[in-house]
């Protein structure tokens, strides 16, 4: 028996947008109800047909150039009004902020500044990885291919999981350089979005609770276990990225994080 609201539920289920509890309930129902199963098959056919016959387009090169030129011209036109005396003010502003650091709790401020520098580093690596042929050194969805690849390339063996069953397939791994050391970068996908997971052995300590940052439209999640420091970056929405980080943390603690 299918009714409109149920159909929308089924669509949300197929889109991976249904809460886990509802999804389980629906799966149980699908197993028993041929009509709903038929509805689902129809939707899967439609999805395949859309993928095959409804193309995404590439912006023509001429348009790309036109946009770049127009944006550049508009930005230049705005420059004089917006930063009239920047030559004078910027050093002053810098001096002022340094003074604040000196007067305030400088230790904390410096620690935070280090964290922000690291965040900048991580974000730069993420953006660089999105450029053509920078994404992976070892493109594989098989965790047993990706993990051994790091042997001899790093002084630790990163934990590699595949969350394809949860909608975050493993795409590959890469060697990267962040915060003055070689780190493992693992790449996961979510629809058209890419997620970079950077990890390296943590400094001894109790771990760091998860925190989030948003920069240039990208979200950064950071935490540390007793063994590893993690940074997760993507343009994926924060709720889904949080969901992904949860899977990672869960898998990590289940593995007992062996070195």
């Amino acid at each position: 028996m299918t009714h409109p609201s149920f159909e929308a539920q089924l669509d949300a289920y197929l889109d991976g947008e249904l809460a886990a509890v509802d999804a389980r309930e629906l799966e149980t129902h699908l197993a028993q109800c041929p009509q709903c199963a038929q509805f689902r098959d129809g939707r899967l056919e439609l999805r395949a047909a859309i993928t095959a016959h409804v193309p995404a387009f590439q912006a023509p090169t001429a348009l790309r150039d036109r946009v770049r030129a127009a944006v550049g011209a508009a930005a230049r036109a705005r420059a004089p009004q917006r930063f009239p005396v920047r030559g004078v003010w910027r050093p002053l502003a810098l001096a002022a902020s340094l003074a604040v650091v000196a007067v305030g709790s400088w230790r904390l401020a410096l620690q935070r500044a280090a964290g922000e520098t690291l965040a900048d580093d991580v974000l730069s690596s993420h953006i660089r990885s999105l450029m053509p042929s920078h994404l992976t050194d070892v493109p594989s969805s098989d965790q047993h291919t990706v993990k051994p690849w790091f042997n001899g390339r790093l002084d630790f063996s990163p934990l590699v999981y595949d969350f394809a069953g949860r909608g975050y397939p493993l795409i590959g791994g890469r060697l990267d350089y962040v915060g003055g050391r070689s780190v493992a970068a693992l790449v996961y996908g979510r629809r058209q979005h890419l997620i970079n997971v950077f990890l390296w052995p943590a400094a001894r300590g109790p771990g760091i609770v998860p925190s989030t940052r948003t920069r240039q439209g990208y979200h950064l999640l950071h935490w540390a276990t007793a063994d590893y420091t993690y940074w997760v970056v993507s343009d994926l929405g924060l709720p889904e990225l949080g969901d992904f980080a949860g899977l990672l943390r869960q898998a990590d603690s289940a593995a007992g994080a062996p070195k």
């Binding site: 995404a56 912006a59 348009l63 946009v67 944006v71 420059a79 930063f83």
Partner: protein, 175 residues
């Protein structure tokens, strides 16, 4: 605007130009209008870029697509008040199927054409959720931000839009 700020804008926005163009193509159903919309939207994006900086939970792609969407809708209202005119561009939906068996090619282009037709015939608010979901890969929450409607509305629009596309596909197979 400082040059570093311009560089930041280019790094954040230009990677999503294909996505912007794809959405504009389907909303305007026309190459030239799509190009104009993308250019206008990019300039608008530049203007609002300061406001984008700290917004939590919004991806750059969804942010740009929202601007493209609003630009497309407002330019359409300006140009043709009776926006439902169907201009079907033959070239747009009959792509190259040259090296195929003629019969297979015929079947394939039939399915392609009927689906393209059906999508073009959908009301804009249904067409946009299909494009945002199936081609741009946005989450329901992001689509709700882009289209400015609650998530529940996104859900029901998607479902109804799919039902219509499926109907079109089925008719093609039968007829």
């Amino acid at each position: 605007m400082e040059s570093s700020e311009l560089a930041r804008f280019e790094a954040v926005v230009l990677p999503h130009l294909d996505a912007a163009y794809t959405l504009a193509r389907y909303l305007t159903r026309n190459e030239h209008d799509a190009e104009d919309v993308v250019q206008d939207a990019s300039l608008r994006a530049l203007k609002y870029f300061d406001g984008f900086r700290g917004e939590e939970g919004t991806s750059a792609r969804a942010w740009l697509l929202a601007i493209v969407r609003n630009t497309a809708f407002s330019s359409r209202r300006r140009q043709r008040p009776d926006a439902v005119v169907l201009e079907f561009d033959e070239a747009q939906h009959s792509g190259a199927v040259a090296d195929e068996h003629p019969e297979a090619a015929l079947l394939r282009s039939a399915a392609k054409e009927s689906l393209g037709h059906a999508l073009d015939r959908l009301a804009p608010e249904f067409r946009e959720v299909i494009v945002l979901r199936e081609l741009e890969g946005l989450s329901y929450k992001e689509i709700s931000d882009v289209a400015g409607v609650p998530v529940g509305t996104v859900m029901s629009r998607l479902s109804r839009a799919r039902a219509r596309l499926q109907q079109a596909l089925r008719q093609e197979e039968e007829g």
